[in-house]
Each structure stands twice: as structure tokens, then as C-alpha cells.
Amino acid sequence: MDILTVDITVPLRSFTLELALPLEAETVALVGPSGAGKSTVLRAIAGLTRPSQGTIALGDEAWFSSEKRINLAPEDRSVGLVFQEYALFPHMSVRRNVAYGGPHRVDELLARLHIEALADARPGQLSGGERQRVALARALARDPRVLLLDEPLSALDAHTKATVRSELRELLRELGLPTLLVTHDFEDAAVLAERVGVIVDGKLAQIDTPQALVAAPADPFVASLTGANLVEGNARAHGGLTEVILDEGSTVYSTDREAGRVGVVIYPWEITVSNEQPVDSSLNHVSGPITSLATIDNRVRVQIGRLTAETSLDSAQRLGLAEGVRVVASFKATATRLLPLP
């Protein structure tokens, strides 16, 4: 399997996209806020946007090189691009959509993606999940050597998303193609990809396994993107620990050693919620009324002031959690990460 090498500069409206990334037979997700230039990366690789300089090469085959003045047309690059809204041809049946990419593997792909029954349907008659499978089949019909997915799950409703996501993960593992996908959702990226790159303002802030990003975020933005709490304050040494006076007034302790302006990172699942202050090893206790509650499947996200804690649905019911109820949020000093702020 060839390695896709991307090293490009693309001037965008308010910033310049600069990205260097080797891609092996693995799935890499680029995560970042909308407008960070994620889709531009895919368009540049596919040949739909021309970088101002750099190289894009698959193995030793150059697709774009500002130095050698090479810029292959999209149809001459072996990519399968799945568009955000899938971009299925509305005037063709599912079968003809797939055959557009390549007529040889149509039946095999329809079967593989479980859409044989839809072969004669028009895209307008399909659900979001079905459209995605047709778009995937069509992209694969060309036998691409690189697969690009632009927000593959954003056009789906929450109900179908989970199923489609695990199916997609399985498919990507089976294909074993160099795959680059972009998404604004860290959770989607963590499920689908082996490595996750965080893009901010056109630059790669950090790229690592999803676990490593959660455990050791390089900067506050990466931390908040991975779903962590981020509160700001001033840190100073206090005994063997670091004491952080938060801007809102309360104090937290951390085992990380920092001084000056810091962001305190705490993951929601590290915070326990109780009705009274517990007697345990936790050093940090923040009490306050619950400002909002959100149930996600069997978990409940509890907002206490600026902190978000996560409990199981069972615990939430047992504790009688509801908006306005006063609770205590507790977390250990070892569960906090301190990131110096500029």
C-alpha cells in the first residue's frame, strides 16, 4: 500500500492553511471547528482546489507539485471522495450512480453495502443513512487508492448516526485504504479513526491517537475539543501540590506543577456528583445548584456552574438530580491537568 504524502499551503479568506501529513493504510480524522479549513484539505487532495505551494503524492506518483509544476486533474487522481451532503446524481438510479464511478464492481458493492434492494431507487427517495452507503459505494466503484470522507456523519440524524458510525468503522477497517476524514465531532473521530489530528485556524495543533489526545492535550483548545472542562485561574505552589485560584473565586488543587495563568482541564467522567460533601480522597469539592441536565443514552451530563460532570442514568435517578438541586462536585487532584495559558 502506497503512502499518501500531503504537504500543502492554501491561502484561505482569513488565514492560510498549512498542513504536512503522511498517511499510511490507516484512517486519520481531522477535527476542528467549522471554517478551520478541514474540507479544503480534502478538496486539495482530490484536485478540486489548487494549493499555492507544496506537494501531494501517492507513493512516488506526484499529483501536485508546485516545484515541478505538476497539477493532475481530479479525474486523473485515484481518490474516492464522499461529499458532506453525498452529492448523489438526482437524475440517476442508485445503480447508475454507483456505475458512474466504474461499471465493473457495481453488484459486488451494492451487496457489500447492503443496498441491492435500492438499486432502482432515485436518491430523492432514500434516507440519510442509505444515501451515505450509496455515496460510499459510488466512491469505491472507482477502485480508489485513497479514500476521503467529508463530514460523513453530519447529514444524519442522531438516531441513525450511532448505527451508521459503527458500520462505517467496520468498513474502513476492512478496506484498509489510506483514509482521511474530516469532522467537527471529536467523538465521531475517536470512533472512526486510528489517529486524530486537531486543526485550528488552518494549522495542525496536535495529532495522536484519540486516547492520547484525551490523556495529554497539547493546548487548551484540544482539551475543550475532546470534551473536557476547561476553567481558567492563577496557579502557585502550595505544599507538594499546585493551588489554582479560579477566576470565579473557588480554589482547586492539582498534582501538575505550574505557575501563573493556567487552564485547568478536568474530564466530566472524573467528577463525582453527590448530595453532600463526601469523605473520600478527593481534594476538590465545588458545590452549587444544577443549571442543566442532558441525558445521552444511558449517561447524564450534569452542569454545575462552569463544570460539566457525567454520571450514569441510574446514579442520577438514585440521587434525585434535577435542575436547581444543590449538589457537590468532587474530583481528585490527580485528575486535573494544568495547561499554561499565553
Binding site: 484536485g47 478540486l48 479525474e75 471522495l81 452529492a87 464511478g101 466503484a141
Partner: protein, 317 residues
């Protein structure tokens, strides 16, 4: 139609009030009171809807009356008989032949032009759009004199054409040129708008699936724009069929050669009025059929787009 004009305006005011009142679900007794009062003075609140209604009635009558008159002036059977007249048959043949040839030329050159303008950003795009649309607002007489100045014997290209033994003015070719000049902007403008409305991501998808720009045009852009292209072609055809001013100046009005249906109406106007009426009736029927076909094609229900004449949006401006 005629009786309506004899009803005094004040009575009409009262009628309108009663109609309006009944629609709003008022009881007859109340509405009677209102109608009595309104015979003296239209309440200020009712002035606006009344004004709208009056304007609509006048507009409708004004637009329909001349068409009705064509068919009611002489018996319908006489009208149909006149269609067998030599002048009518000659004019019909000339009209259909020249308009169809002009139509083919318009489609052949107009479609690629529209696709280029719709899909490329280039310097002077707004200017190009304006130039394409200019013939639409030009008086046909200007088109006629312009064609003469360009292709006439002493015109810009006149001597060049004469070298090849070609003399355009007062030939059937001149009719075709006049029709194409006047009708093509209608098609090109509609075609630009249709190509622009094709989702760019579909075009991109086609390219990433291995299709060349030419194949993308044939398999994606053209089929998806076809409805709009058909509408534009129908408009251009209707406009071409009715072309008068430029044709009479550049091609003259010779029966069997350059005398199209509208020119024949003008010629027979002084000569045999029934023949002129018959041709008028024929053109009304053809135009109505075209319009109905167009509306069916575009969908009767989409009242949102009552106007078929979409100005091509100018993206670069």
C-alpha cells in the same frame, strides 16, 4: 365584456363592497348597511382592496379584449377558410423554416456559450452578460439597421461576403439572421441561469469519479439543466416566430421568400383584412400552445416562479 363598462362606477363600488363583505362572513343585514353607506363614500379602509380589484379588472380586460376580438370579428369558419389562402401557406412555410433553422443555430452556439459564462469566473463577465442581454431591450428597428450595417452590400462584412458571392440582405438567410439575433438572448440568458443552478458539488463529484469535463457536461450538467434549457428554447422560438421589425428592414417582405407570418399580417392588413385576421388567430393559437407546454413543463403549481424570464444572476458583480 361590454356591459361591464356601462355600469356606473358608484354602483360597481357598492357591488364590490357586498362581495367583499360576504367573503369576510358578515351577515347580510350588516353588509347591506355597509353597502348603503359606501354608495355615498368608499370607507378609507376599503380603498386599497378596491383599487387593486379595479386595476386587475381593467388590466385583464385590456389584455384579453384584442385577442377575443380576433376570433369574434368574423365567423370562425371564414377564419379557418382563409388559412387555405396562398399567402398564408407561403408565409407559414417561410416562418417555420427560418425559425427552425435559427433555433438550431441558437441551440448549437448558445448552449456552449451559456455553459462557459455560467461555470467560469473571468474578467469582464458582467460586461459579457450585459452584452448578451442587450438585444432584448434594443428596438427591433435598431437590430435591423445594425444587421444591415454589418452584413449589407456596403456594410462592415459586405465586401468580404461578396468575394464569396454571398449577398445576404433580402434573402431567406437574412430572415434567419434577424430571427437569431433577436431571439438568441432569451435562450442564452435562461440557459446561463439553468447551468448556474446545477449544484457545483455534483460537478465536483463527477470529476472525482473519473469523468472528464466533457463527460461531466454531457452526463451531469446538461441533463440537470434540461428543463430550463427547454423553457429558454420555447421562449426563443416564440420570440423568433413573432419577429417583425428587424426582418422587414434587413430581409424585406417578399411572398414565399422572406415574408413570414407577422409580415404577412402587415401586408394583408391593407389588402384582405380577413386573411390578416386569420394569420393573427393562427399565431395566437401557436403562442398559447407554446406557453401552455412551457408551463406544464415547469409545473403549473410552482406559483413562486410566475416569471419565465429569469435574468441570469451576475456572480462576479
Amino acid at each position: 365584456m361590454a356591459w361591464r363598462c356601462t355600469v356606473p362606477a358608484r354602483v360597481l363600488v357598492a357591488r364590490v363592497r357586498v362581495l367583499g363583505a360576504a367573503r369576510r362572513g358578515w351577515t347580510p343585514r350588516e353588509s347591506k348597511v355597509v353597502s348603503e353607506r359606501s354608495t355615498k363614500r368608499v370607507p378609507r379602509r376599503a380603498l386599497f382592496p378596491f383599487g387593486l380589484l379595479m386595476a386587475t379588472a381593467i388590466t385583464g380586460a385590456f389584455l384579453v379584449l384584442p385577442l377575443v376580438a380576433i376570433f369574434t370579428r368574423i365567423p370562425l369558419s371564414t377564419l379557418v377558410d382563409q388559412l387555405g389562402n396562398r399567402v398564408v401557406r407561403d408565409a407559414l412555410v417561410v416562418s417555420l423554416k427560418t425559425t427552425l433553422i435559427a433555433q438550431a443555430i441558437i441551440l448549437l452556439f448558445g448552449t456552449p456559450t451559456a455553459y462557459l459564462v455560467a461555470t467560469r469566473q473571468f474578467r469582464g463577465r458582467s460586461l459579457a452578460l450585459t452584452l448578451i442581454e442587450l438585444p432584448l431591450v434594443l428596438p427591433p428597428a435598431v437590430a435591423g439597421i445594425g444587421l444591415f450595417a454589418a452584413f449589407g452590400r456596403s456594410g462592415l462584412f459586405g465586401s468580404t461576403l461578396q468575394v464569396f458571392g454571398l449577398e445576404l440582405p433580402f434573402t431567406q438567410t437574412a430572415v434567419v439572421l434577424a430571427v437569431a439575433f433577436v431571439a438568441s438572448p432569451l435562450y442564452v440568458r435562461q440557459a446561463i441561469a439553468s447551468f448556474e443552478s446545477v449544484d457545483q458539488s455534483l460537478v465536483d463529484a463527477s470529476r472525482t469519479l473519473g469523468a472528464s469535463p466533457a463527460r461531466t457536461f454531457r452526463r451531469i450538467a446538461l441533463p440537470l439543466a434540461l428543463g430550463g434549457l427547454g423553457a429558454g428554447a420555447a421562449l426563443a422560438f416564440a420570440r423568433g416566430l413573432g419577429e417583425f421589425g428587424a426582418t422587414i428592414m434587413f430581409a424585406g417582405s417578399f411572398q414565399g421568400v422572406t415574408q413570414t407570418l407577422p409580415l404577412a399580417i402587415y401586408a394583408e392588413f391593407e389588402n384582405k383584412f380577413e386573411v390578416a385576421l386569420a394569420i393573427g388567430g393562427l399565431l395566437v393559437v401557436i403562442s398559447a400552445l407554446l406557453l401552455v407546454a412551457l408551463k406544464i413543463r415547469l409545473g403549473w403549481t410552482s406559483s413562486r416562479s410566475t416569471s419565465l424570464f429569469l435574468f441570469a444572476p451576475s456572480r462576479s458583480s
